[in-house]
Symmetry: C2
């Protein structure tokens, strides 16, 4: 187990009708606010009206180019106090210090982490996710699972408690994702997925471990160029990454198969147990209506070499197995079509 520092100060307000508390929570930090939201669904669902009832517009404390923060040219020293009303369980940014954006110029998707980005409060009402389209729900689930799996596959020993907390979180999502798709207004299913999405990325599951994170970087090159949801890209990349690296530690992959997917261990052949777990993950994504090959994402093979070069531009990536440009290219090839994936 590695030394670590853990602190997550975000006040989480979880449950039905909690969005009506946004005004009261905001009052502690500011009288004026900058309201940031997505494509407009919050207006259709009425959430916008409920939130705006107590909020007015404000400014940002930085005058420079925001892209500089993502290239490392500028450092994030301060930020407006951030409050979140979550409408899709996926990124986990409701309690994390991370932020990801895409610069259309150069098709670059980059992330940055900084303490001032830690939200002061996050309002999590599972009912606000009832109207999520099935595909977005599934993409969010893949992202949540990826956040756990990036931490789960580690070379660090002595991580039993967080191994099991990871498995608990994965099993919960695996149980409830199909239920949420079947009945979008199933409160318990939406609630379990939403809370799992936060736990998956609030840093708890990574305590004492060194996560891998190669799959996230490999995926960012896909959704940086193509109009692909991050979660869908992860559903394609993660199984391919697994097939490429599992021999680094077959036992962890066998444990993943047994404890997460209830596969009966083949004690004589841990490798076949390990592979069965990866196939089960792929089947699960398929069952949610997600793509598991680049072909299904309508991503051709023509730019794979360029993507691999961009991905490994600063040297090898990943920690479970260090991957250079050639490795990343091989993973894109594995991911490209079923016949290459070999399942």
């Amino acid at each position: 187990m590695e030394n670590f520092v853990f602190q997550n100060t975000t006040k989480i307000i979880f449950g039905k009708n909690t969005e009506t508390q946004v005004g009261m929570e905001t009052k502690a930090y500011a009288d004026r606010v900058f309201l940031h939201y997505g494509g407009g669904s919050i207006k259709r669902t009425g959430l916008y009206d409920r939130v705006v009832a107590s909020l007015k517009a404000a400014g940002v404390p930085s005058a420079g180019d925001v892209w500089d923060f993502f290239t490392g040219k500028s450092r994030i020293e301060t930020a407006l106090p951030i409050g979140v009303v979550l409408t899709i369980p996926a990124a986990g940014s409701e309690t994390s210090t991370a932020s990801v954006i895409t610069n259309d110029e150069g098709a670059l998707k980059r992330d940055v982490s900084a303490e001032p980005l830690q939200p002061k409060f996050a309002i999590l009402n599972p009912e606000l996710t009832y109207t999520l389209p099935a595909y977005q729900t599934a993409c969010g689930v893949a992202d949540i699972m990826a956040h756990v799996m990036e931490r789960y596959f580690t070379k660090v020993k002595g991580t039993d408690l967080t191994d099991r907390l990871c498995e608990a979180t994965l099993r919960t999502v695996i149980k409830y994702a199909p239920l949420a798709l079947q009945k979008p207004t199933d409160y318990e299913a939406r609630a379990q997925i939403m809370w799992a999405g936060t736990i998956a990325h609030n840093a708890l599951l990574g305590t004492g471990r060194i996560g891998d994170w190669a799959s996230h970087l490999i995926e960012h090159e896909i959704s940086g160029i193509y109009d692909v949801p991050h979660g869908a890209g992860l559903a394609v990349v993660f199984p391919a990454w697994m097939r490429y690296v599992y021999q680094e530690d077959v036992n962890i992959f066998a444990r993943f198969a047994v404890r997460v997917w209830d596969i009966e261990p083949d004690f004589a052949a841990p490798e076949s147990t390990a592979l069965a777990g990866i196939e089960r993950l792929k089947d699960f994504f398929r069952g949610l209506g997600l793509p598991v090959t680049l072909e299904e994402l309508q991503v051709g093979t023509d730019r794979l070499a360029e993507m691999a070069a961009k991905c490994a531009r600063n040297g090898p990536i990943g920690n479970f197995k260090r991957l250079n440009e050639k490795d990343v290219y091989a993973i894109y090839r594995l991911a490209s079509a079923e016949k290459n994936g070999g399942s």
Copy 2:
């Protein structure tokens, strides 16, 4: 699942040699400190010298009688910023808002919770627990498990994620407690138990649930009168409480047996599965050298009626099953000797 608010702001610094950071962390809050510690073992182990190297004495912001906070006569409105260097994983107070003391006058053990008691930082170095006597280690383990189990047994439905997080935490402690007793300097065992002790009581495992807490109250009446470690008292009380209440929801107890103790479920007789889980818990405590009857604690039957009356003085206790004075007395009787426990 119940609505909830979750926020735990304590900065946790976990791992080897972390106690040397106490000065730096304290500096952010004060120039003077009030150093509070136990029976003197920290002087024998040299921890005192390492901590004092950067700290000096101070005062407290309240002039009244501290007992008034525990009777509800006074409310805790403020507190000195609290920093913790943990030397026994047990109470979980390193990241909680709770405090428990005993008033020798009247042999009253009472608790109080208040936000200002939330520590600003907690330094968790598992090496500092190497010198813990075996019995204290075991008592701490029983306390940790009790904190999980008080939350685990709930009537609230739709708690799958936290059910599994609870089970993950229990399984980890169950695996590592015997290893820590066998080899007190086993870093991984000490580290897993220490981190589990924090997770068990930082409020995460109770999110969306209504905990029971009767066993804690029933135990407090024991260690309030007798010179008994809280954890040893819990090892006696918890199995007795379980036997008294399990019929309220046999399925939860069967799940506890199967998922926590790997007992093969008897689908034709869930009740026997449930009872097997309770017996396994009792066996586990016994194996750690803990008492499982009041007799072994050298607590006679003469004051049981008095204890039951004190325990239920404000009306029924517990949430999984509401218990009145008569119920509490019956649990003390069940706990009093093996022949009453019926195992």
